[in-house]
């Protein structure tokens, strides 16, 4: 079911993406595909301990190995910046922690934490050198589990970390970095009005973003201190800023050239290798290439938080939710900064509830520092909420979609974290799900159906773009956001629509940091919305100039010219009678009328439209093995307006696949010494083609009034509902409610042998 509009020439169509041919022929250059003359290969030595003091590091043997050009440890880096959170684009960053995550200083805080690095003339020599570095560790007690880390006697990761957000300020350090609370109404009064109250505890495991392309970069440092960085990331400007801070150089000396990016999902919104490669290059005077192995990707980058949540919801007999309470604890990894804020704010956001209380904790543990992962924080809290809502519906014998509809947030609903929603499409997604043939299709034996919804804010932020009109009437669009899933296409479509020229007359380039104004990174589902707005404004700027030039050629006033369908036309009665002048004519004469024609925009884009989705999932459970198979899946989402429906559907389908992996298979397994046991795709099992059915999508379009074409971000929402949709489907099939992810065969079997009866409340 698609809602493709006829009123536009390019918006809502499915043209071939501008970078498509490069990506199907192997031409596209990703992070590891760059090769520079004289290039050295860098490798990292990583801590084998979950928590250890670094007494000393002896690099002499490694440094004297023939072919080794440099060896660095934490002490070779500039001192870390001060330990304060600083605004960096949209989100605050603590650059001291970032610097210490890039290279450990006095302590290694997780299995895989970088402690030293080498650059050598070949990969084989670099690897040999790594083995020759001698580190004297004092192994310290470690803590992996979030609840264990919160106990008063837990091993402490940082003796200067005091819980933020509590009063009075604590006098003892703790692993709880922050406590936050959101409250509206009177929670106790709300529960006392309820006829049914259900309280459940849930756990989710850390899961990795699992992009197929490992982190990779080539960095070349010049004698005058400039850094040329070629790497794959979600934001070249982020890499520029982070490297400048860690290496203590001015931003103007750093140029970052964005490679094609082989998936990110939030995991490439920070730096791991680039500062180290920069330092090695500075020391050796040669370009240094660093690429992570898959094992390193698992041990040292990402993942998202695991969480422990307690959810309590009360409702009256007619299904009105009267109160909702959540207590959340998120693992931040080795440094503070889990996505607990959005976790708290998203938990109950789909619903209009008068009495809400949410308390969140950000907790450090001896695991890699978490990175953003699609709708960071939201899936963890919303998983429990959507399961409890399902249980309430069951208890009250109300259809789960009807129960959600009754309590759904609508335009004008005031969210408990502050804002009042404008036009949103949550109810429309519920309606569409209910109408979908999937919802009423018969189920077979050992099969069950589950429903769940999800909410994500979406963001805007800083974006810059330029549109240049070429002398033959074609156009070049320059933007600054790495294209992870087809954004070049959607931005070019909008440019074509505004300029009134054919899509294939437009070439679009993702520029390096020296060639376009600042852009916040590709994340938060912001690119088609925010950078789209910048492209549209730049195109409108070019159009004003085109009209002014046509006016000069016609010898009339500029405001007597209008732009229609890619050509200038005289506007109004006294403008005169001229034949429309096409873009190519004006462009060809630009030299005579004032020079090159361009438009530019640099904006802080506001007004992102929140996104809502509702998913339907059918599972079949093998009672013998405990294996759960997803046999049918439908994802419904309000997408505002789909500029390129093919890539919008793809976002929904990809998010669902990741959510199903999170629900059923994926988890980090640590041994008793705090070492990661499954750092590879063989044992960390992401869904493969034979694990999944086709994923049906329904694009509901409730336009965002803050965007000329009504765009809302679409990439984050689809990963939120699957965990609960699968759990609710399992419950429908077996009558057992599973509350701990992943719902792997052993857990399913255990719950079956526990009776397989409905959980008492």
């Amino acid at each position: 079911m698609k809602n493709e509009t006829q009123e536009f020439k390019w918006v809502g169509k499915r043209p071939i993406r501008p970078d498509g041919v490069d990506k199907v022929t192997g031409r596209a250059k990703f992070g590891a595909d760059m090769h520079l003359p004289g290039m050295l290969i860098g490798r990292v030595l990583r801590s084998p301990h979950a928590h250890a003091r670094i007494r000393s590091i002896d690099t002499t043997k490694a440094a004297s190995l023939p072919g080794v050009k440099a060896v660095v440890t934490g002490s070779d880096f500039p001192p870390p910046p001060p330990p304060v959170w600083q605004a960096a684009g949209e989100v605050p960053v603590n650059f001291r922690d970032l610097a210490r995550n890039v290279m450990a200083r006095d302590k290694a805080l997780y299995d895989g934490h970088a402690v030293a690095a080498v650059a050598a003339t070949s990969a084989a020599i670099a690897e040999e050198a790594i083995d020759l570095i001698e580190v004297d560790y004092e192994v310290l007690p470690h803590v992996i589990d979030v609840k264990a880390a919160m106990k008063p006697d837990a091993p402490l990761l940082h003796d200067d970390l005091f819980t933020d957000g509590v009063s009075p300020k604590p006098d003892k350090p703790s692993n709880i970095a922050k406590r936050m609370e959101f409250a509206v109404g009177d929670i106790e009064a709300g529960f006392s009005k309820a006829d049914v109250v259900i309280e459940r505890e849930f756990t989710t495991k850390p899961v990795h973003q699992g992009y197929i392309e490992p982190h990779a970069c080539v960095v070349d440092s010049s004698e005058d201190g400039r850094l040329f960085i070629h790497c794959s990331s979600q934001g070249q400007f982020m890499v520029r800023q982070f490297c400048a801070r860690v290496l203590d150089v001015e931003i103007s000396k750093v140029t970052v050239v964005p490679a094609e990016i082989g998936g990110g999902f939030g995991g490439k919104t920070t730096v791991y290798l680039e500062p180290t490669a920069g330092l090695l290059s500075r020391i050796t005077g040669r370009p240094v290439k660093m690429v992570m192995s898959r094992t390193e990707v698992f041990r040292a980058s990402g993942p998202t938080s695991g969480g422990a949540t307690k959810i309590k919801i009360g409702a009256t007999k007619d299904g009105t939710i009267t109160a909702a309470q959540a207590t959340l604890a998120y693992q931040a990894g080795a440094f503070p900064g889990s996505p607990i804020g959005p976790g708290c704010m998203c938990a109950f956001a789909p619903y209009n509830i008068q009495n809400v209380n949410v308390v969140g904790h950000d907790v450090v543990v001896n695991r890699p520092k978490v990175a953003a992962y699609r709708a960071p924080g939201a899936p963890i809290s919303e998983f429990g909420v959507e399961c409890v809502i399902d249980e309430i519906a069951e208890k009250l014998s109300i259809d789960p979609i009807a129960l959600r509809e009754k309590n759904a947030a609508r335009q004008g609903t005031k969210a408990y974290y502050g804002p009042t929603f404008g036009p949103i499409g949550f109810v429309e997604t519920l309606e569409a799900a209910k109408q979908h043939p999937h919802y009423s299709a018969p189920l077979g034996e050992n099969q069950g159906r589950g429903v769940a919804s999800g909410f994500w804010f979406n963001i805007g932020g800083d974006s810059s773009a330029s549109v240049h009109i070429n002398e033959d009437g074609t156009a070049t669009v320059i933007e600054g956001n790495p294209d992870i899933g087809g954004s070049r296409a959607s931005l070019a479509q909008m440019a074509a629509e505004v300029l009134g020229i054919d899509y294939d007359k437009i070439r679009i380039t993702v520029a390096d940091t020296s060639s376009v104004g600042y852009n916040f990174l590709t994340g938060g589902s912001r690119v088609t919305f925010a950078s789209g707005k910048a492209v549209i404004e730049a195109a409108n700027g070019a159009i004003s100039e085109l009209c002014a030039r046509a006016a000069k050629l016609w010898e009339i006033d500029a405001d007597a010219v209008e732009w229609v369908d890619g050509e200038a036309r005289p506007a109004g009665d006294n403008a005169g009678d001229f034949e429309p002048m096409p873009l190519s004519t004006i462009a060809g004469a630009s030299g005579k009328t004032g020079g090159p024609i361009s438009g530019h925009a640099s904006l802080n884009v506001k007004g992102a439209g929140p996104g809502f989705g509702t998913h339907i999932c059918d599972v079949e459970v093998d009672q013998e093995t405990g294996r759960v198979s997803v046999i049918r899946y439908t994802a419904v989402q309000d997408v505002g307006r789909a500029i390129h429906p093919g890539y919008v559907e793809g976002q929904l389908q990809g998010g669902v696949a990741q959510g199903v992996g999170w629900a059923l298979n994926e988890e980090y397994i640590y041994d008793k010494d705090g070492r990661l046991d499954n750092p590879g795709f063989l044992d960390y099992r992401v869904p493969v083609a034979s694990d999944l059915p086709m994923i049906d999508t329904v694009l509901v379009e409730v336009p965002n009034p803050n965007h000329p074409y009504g765009v809302r971000g679409v990439g984050e929402v689809p990963i939120i509902p699957p965990m609960a949709a699968v759990a609710n489907a399992i419950s429908d099939a077996l009558g057992v409610r599973l509350k701990d992810l992943p719902m792997s065969p052993p857990k399913v079997l255990a719950s079956l042998s526990n009776g397989g009866s409905r959980t008492p409340s």
Binding site: E90, V91, P92, E181, G266, A372
Partner: protein, 82 residues
């Protein structure tokens, strides 16, 4: 007077639990200054990691946004994304 609301985390740390205020100010900057005068330190905390919603519209790096006498001003954590 605009209605200004801060999250419970901030109120516990700075305002002794009070989370709602009536403030006479024309911009978000003036709101923050006014809060900081009564509760020293809260201004810095807001500057570092708070976004603001003024009458339902979220601003990530707030300073100059205008506030009307009947506005609702909510401070909330900043939101990034994946």
């Amino acid at each position: 007077m605009a209605k200004v609301v801060i999250p419970a985390g901030l109120s516990q740390q700075f305002t002794g639990g009070k989370s709602e205020f009536e403030i006479n100010a024309k911009t978000v900057r003036a709101v923050i200054r006014c809060l900081d005068k009564d509760f020293p330190g809260i201004g810095k905390a807001i500057e570092i990691d708070m976004a603001v919603a003024v009458d339902g519209e979220i601003y990530h790096d707030p300073l100059l946004e205008s506030v009307a006498p009947d506005s609702e001003v909510y401070f909330l954590p900043r939101i990034g994304g994946g």
